[in-house]
């Protein structure tokens, strides 16, 4: 930690960017540490011990004791925590407690989640790649036609979509595109080892659900930014100079509406992580969200701990990277050192 703090102090005067960077990285490390504490405490406050919950009521004391030893549950809590965290830092996610309870010699969590992680990353990437141009495009469209029908339609549509939970959006989409029109499959079961992209029709509804749930915020932010920029004097001047409207929009307005949008897009990516957990379940998509929910249902404490920590790492990193990008784009936002 001191190695991160050192350059901050030395360069505070010289480089506010580095100071900001140092502060943000320290903040992220603190957040990760607290996240690990929360996750560990959350799964450890269990009344009774994890082993007997996993094994069920009929378990013999002998079996419970063996599983306790195997999962380190017979050690003090602090030692359990440091062992777990130490393993994570070295890339060892541990063994699934349900897997061990079922008699397996070892049940490495990474083997269980590696394929779901890949599937989820693909789902998230496809959604993110569509989300960025769509929110910029629709937001700009609403801004250009501000106050007119197109704007109202986009505003009302986005307000309605944002109000709905992902599972309602998904169910409505299934109702329309599977039951009514019968053009898209209602589930996105991907056989193990297959690439989800090999059958894109399966991805359409999950991606559409995630887009509908997350686009609205981006659209409204881009619209608000554009409306403001379009009223500024330099845009008026550009218009009076006879520049083509398209050029004015692209070169003058879009550029300045972009910075706040980066922040919103980052927040959208963070949502995507939460939204994916539910959306995968709606469509039975074999991703990390489905794996996590199954593990919660099975009370597979070790699997939940490690997967939750992985998700928290991604969540906090997305936030960190977005802050850095915004800071580089808009010097104005750099906090006074």
């Amino acid at each position: 930690m001191t190695t991160v703090a050192e350059p901050r102090r030395e360069t505070r005067e010289a480089s506010p960017v580095l100071a900001f960077l140092g502060r943000r990285i320290l903040g992220a490390i603190a957040a990760l540490f607290v996240a690990s504490l929360l996750i560990f405490a959350g799964t450890a406050i269990l009344p009774g011990d994890a082993a007997s919950v996993v094994l069920g009521r009929g378990a013999t004391p002998q079996a419970v004791k063996e599983l306790d030893q195997r999962l380190n549950l017979d050690r003090p809590l602090v030692e359990q925590y440091t062992t777990w965290l130490g393993g994570l830092v070295h890339g060892d996610l541990g063994d699934s407690s349900v897997g061990l309870a079922q008699g397996a010699k070892e049940a490495p969590i990474w083997d269980i989640i590696s394929s779901p992680v890949k599937n989820s990353v693909i789902l998230a990437l496809v959604t993110a790649l569509l989300m960025i141009p769509l929110s910029l495009g629709l937001g700009a469209l609403a801004a250009v036609f501000a106050g007119r029908t197109v704007d109202h339609a986009i505003s009302i549509g986005s307000l309605a979509a944002i109000a709905l939970p992902e599972f309602v959006i998904g169910s409505l989409l299934i109702g329309v595109f599977f039951v009514w029109l019968d053009v898209l499959p209602p589930v996105a079961l991907i056989p193990p080892g297959d690439n989800p992209l090999s059958d894109p029709t399966k991805l359409v509804l999950p991606v559409a659900t995630l887009l509908l749930a997350s686009l609205a915020a981006g659209i409204r932010m881009v619209r608000a930014g554009m409306v403001e920029v379009l009223q500024t004097e330099y845009v008026q001047t550009a218009r009076l100079n006879g520049l083509a409207e398209r050029w004015v929009l692209w070169r003058y307005a879009m550029r300045n509406a972009l910075a706040p949008s980066v922040q919103v897009l980052a927040q959208n990516l963070q949502w995507l992580i939460g939204g994916i957990i539910i959306t995968e379940n709606v469509f039975a998509y074999p991703g990390i969200g489905s794996t996590l929910v199954t593990a919660v249902g099975n009370r597979d404490t070790t699997l939940v701990q490690s997967v939750a920590m992985l998700i928290a790492v991604v969540y906090i990193m997305v936030n960190l990277v977005a802050d850095l990008i915004v800071m580089l784009l808009v010097p104005k936002l750099r906090e006074p050192a």
Partner: protein, 282 residues
């Protein structure tokens, strides 16, 4: 107080209120007009709408309409309880942090910052892994998700109010800190603090319904809109109403609350950022 109702002059706000009142009425009074027992089979499973069951039957042959009329109270009640509990905790933390301005303040606020950096649904899932499924876990968990954001808003409002003349006068009169906070500070921060209560309520509904949908909240055979959707989701092509009807009720409720929130924010001259519906915690 009259200003609180100014949002009704905005058309979408009035529509939102009407929709919310209607859905809440169905959720709390519907059970008295339900034609059947919500947990008893009345016909063949997954039959389409008929004169005996106007929305057909679900996967166990229970009347969808009756379950719909019974199934709203749980999600609205739990969301209200969780939001209220979140406000109790958030008010206490925010008032202490804002009023005392002691060493506690930065510590509390950094803790809040870090809590806000943690995905809320994930927090709830971890809690359920540890404590098991149950109504209590759901309410406490969602309140814990809401409390940090609330306490931050309370703290800001308290900081502003606690330097006003009437607070200083009360302190000068020799009133105890507790009395000053309850009698002078609290009444004056309540209005700004409660402005986003509707959005927090929507958020509670969204997250509780989502957890119920995942099968990790209320357990069968409870009648609950979200649970109804997940139970009948597999059989959507047989009786689509078993899924669409509860989905429509949740949709009406959350859209109605959001329309109200939008109108309230506009009537107060603030810009309404709908993303708070999902990320009020931030």
């Amino acid at each position: 107080m009259r200003s609180a109702f100014r949002f009704l002059r905005i058309r979408s706000g009035a529509i939102g209120l009407a929709v919310v009142v209607l859905v809440v009425a169905v959720a709390f009074l519907g059970r008295y007009i339900a034609p059947h027992d919500p947990s008893a089979p009345v016909g063949t499973p997954l039959a389409g709408p008929s004169s005996a069951a106007h929305l057909g039957t679900d996967f166990l042959g229970r009347d969808v309409l009756s379950r719909l009329l019974y199934g709203g109270r749980s999600v609205i009640g739990l969301a209200a309880a969780a939001t209220a509990l979140g406000y109790v905790v958030g008010l206490a933390i925010g008032l202490i942090a804002g009023y005392t301005r002691s060493k506690l303040d930065p510590l509390l606020m950094r803790t809040v910052d870090v809590m806000l950096a943690f995905p809320p649904l994930l927090f709830l899932l971890v809690l359920i892994t540890g404590a098991g499924t149950g109504v209590g876990v759901l309410v406490v968990g969602v309140a814990a998700i809401q409390a940090p954001g609330i306490s931050r808003i309370v703290r800001t409002a308290t900081l502003e109010v606690s330097v006003r003349g009437y607070v200083e006068a009360a302190i000068a009169r020799g009133e105890r800190a507790g009395a000053v906070v309850v009698r002078e500070v609290l009444p004056n921060i309540l209005a700004p603090v409660l402005v986003d209560a509707g959005l927090r309520f929507t958020y509670s509904i969204l997250i509780i319904a989502s957890v119920n949908y995942l099968g990790l909240g209320l357990q069968p055979p409870s009648s609950d809109w979200a649970l109804m959707i997940s139970e009948n989701r597999e059989y959507i092509s047989l009786n689509i109403w078993a899924v669409l009807a509860p989905a429509a009720m949740i949709a009406l409720l959350t859209i109605g609350v959001n329309l109200m929130g939008d109108a309230i924010a506009r009537s107060l001259g603030r810009s309404y950022v709908p993303r708070t519906a999902r990320s009020v915690v931030a």
